[in-house]
């Protein structure tokens, strides 16, 4: 059955569609007849474009290169398994309520894509616009937030200030008594924000990209970036040299290492960011609540686990784990704000290595090496941007120039001083 997807120029190879009917049909044969979601091809000697890094951003880039820009021979080269980096480790908060115009443009672009993405990819991303609430714990923070809400609204993005009483109504498990060390003074809310299933984002993009002919090559580490006369000529990998005149690097916490392979340096520090889940319980919270002042945020997964996140660990690391004090701090804040969680057990904790930038904004850029492009620096908050990031990065690679949304995110901004300072909005949380 071949069903071309709306708005896609690329020729789709016609994978069987996922639907309620296919689910019912496969139930009859005990779910033993499901097809492979993507192939496991051998690397070809040459591609039109090679994407390094099979996280959500890399896979999305490959998908849009093939489906929108008609670039047929694309490979995604991933050193381990797709989605095993920060894509599969993050707490999946999605929102677009950023302060500056440049940020509003890219995160809102992403949010609009999220809104139709499950249909476009024919993959249930479990995208849930359950709302994202950010708390203020001091009068100063509350004033700052009101100012931010006005700026966000001027960009046409939904955002509302909330009083403690309204917050209590939305989140019954929260303690709003003034006696807390960091009392809830109010907050701001974006209803269109929410969460999505992180693995599904990697898998959905991988399946759709594969359908457009993209080769997804796992267990293949890039060990060198070859160039001649100032232009990229391909990548050395653990499975041999792959020739390509266009290389897009999307390796999050490892971006500095990749840049060094090309003789470049980035303004990026790699730090651990940790998260944890509790044992699963019945639904007690149906929105996302973040709190920058106490470095903690909470949501509940569809499985019933409470998902908690914190701020980054203080030191540089590539170990994909952090230190216990961060977890202790997070849990202390959680117990104070949501007393009901004190009796829950922690089930798993983990860490990912995030690529933090001096202005807490990403880099989507050409480089001094022709044909070599970088997309990194998303730090603690890039999951929400996945579709938008892939969309504009594919455009940059195809056209060899940034479009209006990507243009402010060049590497040159660190020389010119046009930084996009989102420390206030990104804070710790996402």
């Amino acid at each position: 059955m071949v069903t071309p997807t709306l708005g896609m120029r690329g020729l789709r190879r016609g994978k069987p569609r996922y639907s309620i009917f296919s689910l019912a049909r496969h139930a009859l044969d005990y779910h033993e007849g499901w097809q492979r979601a993507w192939r496991a091809p051998e690397p070809q000697p040459e591609y039109d474009a090679v994407i390094i890094g099979g996280g959500g951003h890399g896979l999305a880039t490959a998908f849009y290169l093939a489906s929108l820009h008609g670039i047929r021979r694309v490979a995604v080269v991933e050193k381990s398994w797709i989605g095993g980096g920060n894509t599969g480790r993050n707490t999946t908060i999605i929102r677009s309520n950023y302060l500056w115009d440049e940020s509003a443009a890219i995160y809102e672009h992403a949010l609009k894509l999220w809104e139709g993405l499950s249909q476009e990819l024919n993959f249930n991303l479990m995208f849930s616009q359950r709302g994202v609430l950010t708390l203020a714990h001091s009068e100063h923070e509350m004033k700052e937030m009101s100012r931010r809400v006005n700026a966000i609204r001027l960009n046409g993005i939904d955002s509302t200030v909330m009083t403690p009483a309204q917050i209590k109504q939305l989140v019954p498990i929260i303690d709003i008594s003034p006696s807390l060390r960091y009392p809830v003074m109010g907050g701001f809310f974006q209803q269109r924000g929410g969460t999505a299933r992180h693995d599904a984002v990697a898998w959905g993009y991988a399946r759709a990209a594969d359908e457009c002919g993209v080769d997804i090559i796992q267990n293949c580490e890039v060990t060198g970036i070859r160039q001649a006369k100032g232009a990229v000529t391909g990548v050395e990998t653990t499975r041999g040299f792959i020739k390509s005149a266009k290389v897009g690097c999307v390796t999050a916490g490892h971006s500095g290492i990749m840049a060094a392979m090309a003789g470049l340096r980035l303004p990026i520090e790699s730090r651990p960011l940790q998260a944890l889940v509790s044992e699963p319980i019945k639904p007690i919270i149906d929105t996302v609540v973040m709190s920058n002042a106490v470095h903690m945020y909470i949501s509940q997964s569809d499985k019933g686990e409470l998902v908690f996140g914190a701020g980054t660990d203080a030191y540089n690391s590539y170990a994909q784990r952090g230190s216990l004090p961060v977890i202790e701090h997070l849990l202390a804040s959680a117990v104070e704000l949501y007393p009901i969680v004190s009796r829950l057990r922690v089930m798993r904790t983990w860490g990912g290595i995030v690529d933090t930038c001096p202005d807490a904004s990403p880099i989507i850029s050409t480089t001094p090496v022709k044909g070599l492009y970088f997309n990194c620096g998303w730090g603690t908050g890039g999951f929400k941007a996945t579709p938008g990031s892939g969309h504009v990065f594919a455009d940059l690679i195809a056209q060899d120039r940034p479009n209006a949304i990507a243009a402010p995110y060049t590497l040159e901004r660190f020389t010119t001083g046009s930084l996009i300072d989102e420390h206030g909005a990104a804070g710790v949380a996402h």
């Binding site: 500095g256 340096r265 303004p267 990026i268 790699s270 540089n316 230190s323 004090p325 001096p358 660190f414």
Partner: protein
């Protein structure tokens, strides 16, 4: 969790310390002599290696003094602790210091010229 040996107070829990980032970044003494690109390199570009790293720590909740450390950013092993204003003595530390791109940077050359004059 890191166990960090403060040179003055001995081994203490990581929670007592504040991180000071990369060590041995020389501040240009005549910034106006640097181009925008050279200044950006000094101000923003990071070494951020996977492996041996020379970094600064402060015993914030103890003696409040600063010191340097040689630490592996992949294993988290602390290879050496050494005083501010001095250079590492361990083999890995010396190598990391000498191999750093900062040694040849315009900012460091500028800082050296400035201190030679004063």
């Amino acid at each position: 969790m890191l166990l960090i040996e403060c040179p003055w107070c001995g081994p203490r829990d990581e929670a007592e310390f504040a991180y000071g980032g990369e060590a041995h970044i020389a501040r240009p003494t005549e910034p106006d002599k640097l181009s925008d690109a050279e200044w950006a390199e000094y101000l923003f570009l990071a070494s951020n290696p996977r492996g041996t790293y020379l970094e600064r720590w402060r015993h914030a909740h103890g003696c409040r003094r600063w010191f340097n450390a040689v630490r592996d950013t992949y294993t988290h092993e602390i290879i050496e602790i050494y005083a501010m204003g001095s250079l590492p003595k361990s083999k890995l530390g010396i190598q990391a210091y000498e191999d750093s791109w900062r040694r040849g940077s315009a900012a460091e050359q500028n800082a050296k010229r400035g201190s030679a004059k004063s």
